[in-house]
């Protein structure tokens, strides 16, 4: 199966991959997303599972149904997803990183400068 993993329910993975594409800008706001059947064929999954993933995003207001034409990326979807992900960022990335750092005896000053270095070498902005 292309690109899906064991750990998360399939329909959640379908929703997450679509959300990733929206955040990355590969699925721009206002464009049509693949239909349930197209997703089912591509991932080789039951169409009901694909529909469940899509409906998750519809419920969140990220996708909108246009009757008879299909499913589209809602206006403001990217900003909304970004806001949600920023909220989860500390919990999902910072907390485990800080926990591992303290396990390894890296104090917070050292951790901060490590982050700066990595960010610099990736061409990111520090300030």
């Amino acid at each position: 199966m292309p690109g899906l993993d064991e750990g998360t329910p399939l329909f959640v993975q379908i929703a997450e991959q679509l959300a990733d594409d929206i955040v990355d800008g590969q699925l721009a706001e206002g464009t049509r997303v693949p239909s349930t059947n197209e997703l089912a064929a591509f991932y080789r999954i039951n169409p009901a599972t694909a529909a469940k993933g899509i409906n998750m995003l519809v419920d969140d207001g990220v996708l909108e149904k246009r009757r008879g034409i299909g499913m589209f990326v809602a206006l403001g979807a990217r900003e909304q997803l970004l806001a949600t992900r920023r909220k989860l960022f500390a919990e999902q990335y910072v907390d485990p990183m800080v926990a591992e750092a303290s396990r390894l005896g890296i104090d917070s000053d050292a951790l901060v400068s490590l982050i700066r270095e990595t960010s610099l070498s990736n061409g990111g902005k520090t300030r």
């Binding site: 199966m1 064991e6 750990g7 329910p9 399939l10 329909f11 059947n37 089912a40 064929a41 991932y43 080789r44 999954i45 039951n46 169409p47 009901a48 599972t49 469940k52």
Partner: protein
């Protein structure tokens, strides 16, 4: 809506051996159901009763709302592809033509396509086909029949992994275009897991699991990490399986785990991983015990 299949408190005994023991389940129209279990779990017996080939010792079976046995109106709406089905010694093309007379929704175009996909020689006699090719003929008939209820019982004896993938792909593609009720009995669980909307797991003639496929997730969890932490986490829980190597251990426990348990596992630096459907089957008897004690 009337369920396509409804089975109530079904028991089938052979002498003093119960092949099916108080089985109840329903299959909704337009779904793909996986009938999963080890060999001898009762899958074939259940399908034979559903298709009217066999009678229950006790209990009720309804297909499209009516008893299937000797009921032509019901039987014409279904196709049953059996494991190692035997055919009269026709040529392949003739066997397909004969099948086309039986099924009201038969689609000749799809049959032609599938015969080509599986590279079946139309003028070869059935007896001269390899086992895999004979299985492929069954698959062609099962799909081209486009019956409202399509039942496959381990339809792929002798088919290699590539041919099985072809079967799953064609099944899914045609199901999407022409939704119908499909029941797929198999022990190759991980191969079909993603195709299923509904899972029925049998063990020793009993239903041990019968949820929508989405909800299976987390029915069993593997907890692994430092042995001491694993022991602390599983204390007071049923444990289906334990493993230990040096200072590390893993244990399989029933799920789903609530948020508190997950947080506790994180605090103990344990990793949690849900069991796959195939792994769940390995623990089927554990699941059965769980249900009895619950």
């Amino acid at each position: 809506m009337t369920p396509t299949i409804s089975v109530g408190e079904l028991t089938r005994r052979y002498r003093d051996q119960a092949a099916l023991d108080n089985v109840s389940l329903t299959v909704e129209p337009g779904t793909v159901t996986g009938l999963l279990g080890r060999n001898g779990a009762g899958k074939t017996t259940l399908l034979r009763i559903i298709t009217g080939l066999e009678f229950p010792t006790d209990g009720v079976v309804k297909v499209f709302g009516a008893a299937p046995a000797e009921n032509d109106a019901v039987l014409r709406r279904m196709v049953f592809v059996r494991e190692e089905q035997s055919y009269p010694d026709f040529r392949v093309g003739h066997a397909i033509r004969v099948a086309s007379w039986f099924y009201p929704n038969w689609n000749a175009e799809l049959a032609q396509q599938l015969l080509a996909d599986f590279e079946l020689p139309l003028d070869r006699r059935m007896r001269r086909l390899s086992r895999g090719m004979r299985s492929a003929v069954g698959i062609v008939i099962g799909l081209a029949a486009r019956a409202e209820l399509t039942l496959f019982d381990e339809p792929y004896a002798g088919l290699d992994a590539v041919a099985r993938q072809l079967f799953y792909d064609r099944l899914l593609a045609d199901f999407v275009e022409h939704p119908r009720t499909i029941v797929l009995s198999t022990h190759l669980i991980d191969e079909v897991a993603d195709l299923l909307e509904h899972v029925v797991m049998l063990d020793h003639g009993r239903v041990v699991l019968d949820p929508p496929a989405d909800e299976i997730h987390g029915t069993g969890m593997t907890v692994s990490g430092p042995a001491i932490a694993v022991e602390e986490f599983v204390a007071g829980r049923p444990v289906w399986h334990r493993q230990r190597i040096a200072s590390r251990a893993s244990a399989v426990v029933p799920g789903p785990l609530d948020a508190a348990a997950q947080a506790r596992a994180r605090a103990l630096r344990l990793s949690l991983e849900p069991l796959s459907l195939q792994q769940l089957l390995v623990h089927a008897s554990g699941i059965a015990e769980e249900k009895v004690s619950a």
